[in-house]
């Protein structure tokens, strides 16, 4: 699965994008965030506080409970600050 990172998440991870094979049975945004916390010290730090993480699935904002089944692109980023 294609995973994108923006703003300070991108900076903390040192990567704008990863292509990942997810563990079987990992179905929701919340579960994906929990798994990210286990992947490396940098991931643990970046995903430490899920309340600061927003997610989009295939270009649409998705809540923590959303299913990632069938998604081709999942993005993680901080609360937005445009305008």
């Amino acid at each position: 699965m294609r995973i994108l990172y923006f703003a300070w998440l991108r900076e903390k991870l040192g990567a704008a994008e990863e292509n990942l094979d997810l563990p079987p049975g990992l179905n929701t945004v919340a579960a994906l965030i929990a798994w990210q916390q286990t992947r490396s010290p940098a991931h643990a730090a970046a995903f430490a506080d899920p309340s600061l993480i927003r997610c989009a699935i295939d270009l649409e904002i998705a809540p923590a409970t959303a299913s990632i089944a069938g998604a081709s692109e999942v993005a993680f980023f901080p609360p937005v600050t445009g305008g």
Partner: protein
């Protein structure tokens, strides 16, 4: 007509207003956001760096512009958001709407600005004169401003 641009380049507000005005509709409201030299409680700013989610931004902006056009009977809507490195005084964003009714155009412009602050996948980093930099934190006041449009 809906015009959405996400670009590094500056915009020409006068030309955008003239384009919005093309059909003699009645009223054109606009808002321009610029980079402030001295953000509250922070050292002077050297630059603002803006990052966005290509593809999602254009899609989300088009959707919100279409929604506003229906809600406020807009004949024309233009949203231009700059990205990349911008220095104090430079333009960040232009929102312009044309409608037969002045209050509709002003309300639609306020709505789109509130929405950009809370829902467009765009992030700002402040680069300070001290050499440090910090990603701007989302404001609760912006969330409240956006919530008031939800009926």
């Amino acid at each position: 007509m809906i015009k959405i641009l996400i670009q590094q380049a500056d915009f020409n507000a006068g030309a955008e207003l003239a384009a919005l005005q093309a059909d003699a509709v009645g009223g054109i409201a606009s808002f321009i956001g610029t980079v402030r030299a001295n953000p509250a409680d922070n050292p002077p700013l050297t630059a603002l760096y803006l990052e966005h989610y290509p593809g999602m931004t254009e899609r989300a902006l088009t959707k919100i512009a279409e929604q506003a056009a229906v809600e406020w009977s807009l004949t024309n809507t233009t949203i231009i958001h700059r990205i990349g490195r911008l220095t104090p005084g430079e333009n960040i964003v232009f929102v312009g709407t044309a409608s037969p009714h002045r209050q509709a155009a002003l309300s639609a412009t306020a709505f789109i600005m509130d929405w950009l602050k809370t829902s467009a996948p765009i992030w700002k980093r402040e680069d300070f004169s001290t050499g440090q930099s910090a990603w701007v934190a989302a404001k609760q006041t912006d969330d409240k401003a956006a919530e008031k449009w939800i009926k």
